[in-house]
């Protein structure tokens, strides 16, 4: 969404959508493994519920966005939900057909949004646009075609046929009827938010700063081509001539107008057409031709401010991720760092300190005990030596004295020993 508009068109229309939905379609045999004929599997059931919930959830958020590309981005998420639900309930061809039609009308819408943004001199806020149907007629016409295709406006637009395939499959789903009603509600929401966007951008009067201008042919020509496809592409997947489904399922295609006359099918098409038209009218009723001031609260905001705030803040999904995944990531990174510095590093420091302590003790032991004992011995030896050295003074008188004392002692001992 924040990317350059052609990149958004590519991502939303082809790359990302194609990757996720295509991969589910590609591994469909795995998803189906173990199913009874005509039955379904847990994997497919999960896909259906997630898809249906996504379709409604994202469409709700799209209602309250003011960035022209952000609305389309949430619309893409919603349509992805349709594709997934279609894969889960109707099989590969149903989901893939919506993928293909959506690729064309959604890239048309993104390119159209790019043309609008360019024409409004890099303005993306729909509240600061308005009345562009006069200034940018070609962009308006093609955008309207894309919008009607996205809403699934009856008969002429490809989105009608691909979405009807999904609705029909949902109606016939064996497990529950709820996804069908969810998806039908999504159709209403889609028509509503697209009408809101188109009213803000193309109807009313100009509320931007500088005057808008039509984009050059290099930008409008692709819009025209895409618009043709957004209408005509439905022809390859109508119930009367389901060429696309036949192609994917590798069977011969039969042209059979009677298939359209099936009462259940007719009823469903009528119902979805009524829902679409009701959504368009509801949108017109709220936003119509009236051009509120950019600062003024939205028409829905006046009725339900709390609900509006929740939708505008995207139902707090980003905040939820911020508070869980991102917070966990950052917290865990700090834990890893702390473990490193304090626990592992601390263990190393402790071992080093222990070694230091041991070294000190060893030094002390050496000094005080080993060296001390040795020194003590040496000291005593040297004191003894000093005492002895006094004896050997070199003075003749001392020697004679000791000699005399010795002789006296010897005589005394001899006398003592020879005593009878």
């Amino acid at each position: 969404m924040e990317g350059p508009t052609p990149v958004s068109a590519l991502i939303h229309a082809a790359t990302m959508v194609a990757a996720g939905v295509f991969l589910v379609a590609r591994v469909y045999p795995l998803m189906q493994a173990g199913a009874q004929p005509g039955g379904t599997t847990v994997a497919l059931t999960v896909i259906v519920w997630v898809g249906a919930a996504t379709a409604v959830f994202a469409a709700l958020i799209a209602i309250a966005q003011n960035d022209i590309k952000r609305i389309l981005a949430y619309s893409t998420i919603s349509q992805l939900g349709y594709m997934m639900a279609g894969l889960g309930m109707g099989g590969v061809a149903v989901g893939m057909f919506h993928l293909i039609t959506h690729a064309f009308f959604k890239s048309l819408l993104f390119m159209g949004a790019g043309s609008v943004i360019h024409g409004c001199r890099d303005e993306q806020d729909i509240r600061r646009m308005g009345g562009l149907k006069v200034d940018m007629p070609l962009t308006f016409i093609t955008y309207a075609i894309g919008m009607l295709a996205l809403c699934g406006f009856p008969l002429l637009f490809s989105g009608f046929w691909s979405k009807d395939g999904i609705l029909e499959a949902a109606h016939g789903w064996s497990i529950s009827r709820a996804p069908f009603y969810l998806l039908l509600f999504g159709v209403l929401l889609t028509a509503f938010y697209m009408t809101r966007q188109v009213c803000y951008v193309f109807f009313g009067y100009w509320r931007g700063r500088q005057t808008a201008h039509e984009s050059p042919k290099t930008m409008t020509l692709p819009l025209v081509i895409l618009a043709l496809f957004a209408m005509a592409l439905g022809a390859i997947g109508t119930p009367a001539w389901p060429w696309f489904h036949a192609f994917l399922e590798d069977r011969a295609v039969v042209f059979d107008l009677r298939a359209m006359a099936d009462p259940r099918l007719l009823a469903l098409m009528t119902a979805s057409s009524i829902v679409v038209i009701f959504g368009l009218m509801l949108g017109w009723r709220f936003y119509g031709d009236r051009s509120p001031k950019p600062e003024a609260p939205d028409a829905l905001e006046k009725i339900a401010p709390t609900l509006w705030a929740g939708l505008r803040d995207r139902l707090y999904v980003d905040e939820l991720y911020g508070a869980t995944v991102v917070a966990f990531y950052n917290w865990w990174a700090r834990v890893a760092d702390w473990l490193d510095r304090c626990i592992w590093g601390g263990m190393v420091a402790a071992v080093a300190a222990l070694f230091g302590l041991w070294a000190r003790f060893s030094r002390f032991f050496d000094r005080a005990w080993i060296d001390g004992g040795f020194d003590k011995g040496c000291e005593e030896l040297s004191t003894g030596g000093g005492l002895l050295s006094r004896v050997e003074g070199g003075r003749a008188q001392n020697y004679l004295r000791i000699l005399a004392a010795g002789v006296v002692a010897l005589v005394a001992i001899l006398l003592w020993s020879v005593r009878p």
Binding site: Y329, N330, A333, A336, W344, M347
Partner: protein, 505 residues
Amino acid sequence: MNGIPILTLLTVLPLAGAAVALFSGKQARGVALLSGLASLAVALFVWTQLPADGSIGLVERAAWVPSLGIEYHVGVDGLGALMLVLSAIVTLMAVDAAHRVHHMPGFFYGLILMLQSGLFGAFTALNFFHWFLFWELSLIPAFFLIKLWGGPRRGPAATQFFVYTMAGSAALLVSFLAIFFSTGSMDFGYLATLAQTGALTPMVESHLGSAMPWLAAGVLAGFAVKVPLMPFHTWLPEAYAEAPSPVTMLLTGAMSKMGLYGLLRIALPIFGVQIAAMRTPLLVLATITVVMGAWAAAAQTDLKRVFAYSSVNHLGYCMLAIFALAVPAAGAAQRASQAAALNGAILQIFNHGITAAALFWFVAMIQFRTNGLRGINDFGGLRKPAPIFAGLMGIALFSSLGLPGLNGFVGEFLIFRGVFPLAWVAASVSILGLLVTAVVLLTVIQKVFAGPTPERWAKFPDLHPSERMALTPVIVLMFLLGLAPQLIVDTINPTVMNLLAHWRF
């Protein structure tokens, strides 16, 4: 190759280069480049001369100290030869990245070449004594390189690095003394044969009782420090951050690989049974290394520390593969998984060596332009003034996070392909590491290259032609190995099959 002792020549060549560089002052860089190129040429030649069956070739053998079982015994198989080529490439990159060393250049380049010789010696030795000599020899130049040319906290970093590795080496040495005491041999091949036939454990038991698991643990400790395996890694961020960038390139690109090589050449062949018995705790540690390494990288603000922890994470995958495959294979499917894991681990060793060295090289270039700044928050919007810089570093970053089409992807893919069937819990948890690494490296791209350009970096110089020329072969290699990994796999796969056939778990 009758007669020409090519591996001895390869080991002596950088030593001679070092001797010349030491005395050639300002010309030392030229000498080192020449020597590095010559080494690379010889290493590539060795790569082409390997025996086709994956056994060890180019053997040279001579008595050294026969009474102590010490022999001069060298030889390489695909694994060893790949390590030689990697060491030669990384050394050349490091020498090229070092153009800013003005302080005692002769000594600096001399030490780098000495380190290279140590690497070559350790990657070719087949006798414990000889191998240990070079293992330690490579440590000494690394210590001085950090100590003398490092950053502000180089002293403690160098000491911690040295002491930590020495402690691991001591455990390794004791284990091998015990093995020698029990068997009378230090020859890797002979000991591996003993282990394969199951004769080694009774021999050790008759002399030392039930010491065998402890001996295995000692050997593992030596390698766990070197790679590193958490929690034996705390020396690494300090050493990588404080070492001058060329030395960091060598540390991560080549020296950390000595540990992994040791696991494959020494630990698994000789202590396979014991490692298989310790497999679960080892897998837990490897998984922790992968996951916590990535998350610790997320918390760093210094680019060098980011890449240091990211290296811990990347080498964690290798250890995950090596430990996961240490299980008695039951059936062909499991053997295929083991082969995939081992091929992946060896590819990852090579690819990480190239990519991590390139990343630290880019950090060196950033620091060169900004007077030493390398905080992740110091920059922004460098893409505008320096688009080629941003593009090439972006390629290296994407290679590191494992983008398909670049070399980082193939190794990790093979590792997970092999590890999942062998240890699916560890593999599933480790996948988180891939995710977090991607976030971390994309954050680097976003914070350094994207966003608004601050005023002071408006004139950040782009890569000049000589830098581009030096980087081109590395970037080309990233694409080449990403698109055609068989350039390596074709040569190492026979070795992998040969190794697996001889290991007993």
